[in-house]
């Protein structure tokens, strides 16, 4: 495990690790784990960029209330903190770092 990551897992998870993709890059995460927690533990710092200013965001509340952990799975934006890790999830980061002016 990389010792410089901001988050660490305090015990070796007994769950088997499965592969998911985050913005195309493969990650091995514990099956059934909370997706937001697993991504944080895997060193993902930025979950999305806001549609307003493009600012980076990551989980804030971990209880489904703030919507800062939104990620896109199968074309739907969902709260990573309310999802469990499943094999083969294709996850993408919503938004881009540039400010979007969608329908101007």
């Amino acid at each position: 495990m990389n010792p410089v990551l901001p988050f660490l897992e305090i015990e070796a998870s007994s769950a088997p690790r499965v592969e998911v993709r985050f913005d195309g890059a493969p990650l091995l995460l514990p099956l059934g784990a909370n997706l937001a927690a697993a991504l944080l533990a895997a060193g993902i710092e930025r979950f999305r960029n806001t549609p307003v200013s493009g600012a980076p965001r990551a989980p804030f509340c971990m209880m489904g209330a703030c919507f800062d952990c939104l990620v896109e799975i199968d074309g739907v934006q969902r709260q990573a903190c309310m999802i469990e890790v499943a094999e083969g999830l294709q996850i993408t980061r919503p938004g881009s770092p540039e400010v979007r002016h969608v329908a101007s």
């Binding site: 897992e9 784990a33 927690a37």
Partner: protein, 464 residues
Amino acid sequence: MSHRDLVIVGAGPAGMAAATEAANAGLSVTLLDEQPRAGGQIYRDVDHVPDHRAALLGPDYTAGRDLTVALRSSPVEHVTGAVVWSIEPGFCLSYSRDGRGAQLTADRVLLATGALERPMPLPGWTLPGVMTAGAGQILLKQSGVLARSAVLVGAGPLLYLIAVQMLRAGQPPLALVETQTGRNRRAALRHLGGALRGWPYMAKGLRMLAELKRGGVPRYIGAQDIRIEGDTRAEVLCFSHRGRIRRLACETVFLHHGVVPNTQAARALGVAHHWSTQQQCFVPTLDYWGRSDVPGVFVAGDGAGIGGAKAAALSGRLAALAIACDAARLTPDERDQRARPLRSARAREQAPRPFLDTAYPPCAQALSPRDETLVCRCEEVTAGTVRAHARAGCLGPNQTKAFGRVGMGPCQGRYCGLTVTALLAEATGQTPDQTGYYRIRPPLKPVTLGELASLKTPPATGEN
């Protein structure tokens, strides 16, 4: 569509206790919660954690197993992963499960949706790496994930609890940066009588402080001018303490200055709310049993006013007794007799609250943030913009919403509502009650249009 005597939203201590009590009194009960397992916030995943982690979290946490065990052995139907997004009068509840829509009708509804962290708008609070302290705890409870280099910022006993748990796990926080002052503590002494009635809590608090001291965790009390700096993530916590500017390099900042009732569902149902001066938040207006002014709607637990996990379970039971009595499953005498011990236990639980609320008031800087601070995380609106709307004639948050989008994002005002009410009240000189709160409407949580359409009964559409 199936029908129940009672549907309960929220499977924390209040909802679990209420469901068990009501089912045992003979009511058909469904318990809906968006989490994959029972427990709510405090007992999150209590049936699931490995022993090592349970030991770390301590007996106050594992005590939740009494509730989950009782729930499992009761006839309650517990639907997990059910995100309730609409409750219509009458009552029809719409919820989303695995991306599919479902509905349920009920004679009565008990809202046990718990608390949210009080919004803590400080400069930099939207940066990755800044989280609520509750989030830090959920990471630990549910996932065994800990922050390596974290600072805890704010006020209140929950901050100490998390610090102690981090210490025990071998990753002590870098520091506790606390916003309460010595003056707050002196003011709180007025409520010492109540505090002593809740002595076990006070003793626990003192033990935690001693443990932190032994662990060498530095505490900065009376911190002001707090700011989180960083370009794309939190890097430095900056604050002033006893006239000195301090800068602590860190990777994670956990914020906390109390929790407030999550009133979204109650408000969407039109339940009356009022401002609690002691708790500095809106609370639903309820009778002793948790009965609201909307017939058939009850509220229990922290969603009815902050009281902690044990008080939440007790208030859940009390509400269940009243509901069973209203549904003619208990006589008023039976209800009152069963309620008596619960009542006095609840009063004991609530005894230390005035002391705690006074000793650990919300952080003043976050209650009235400086103009440049973002208050609405979703729409990225600053305090200064809200103040400008007040100058343009906005008396309440609904007009502010129209003028500047505060509260229009996916969180539906959960993390800006109280701040916006406070900013407007400050600018107009009105009370929070006069200023009011956002009008909350379905969906309580976003739902895909596809799912919504699957429940369709088409209305007439025409000219706009």
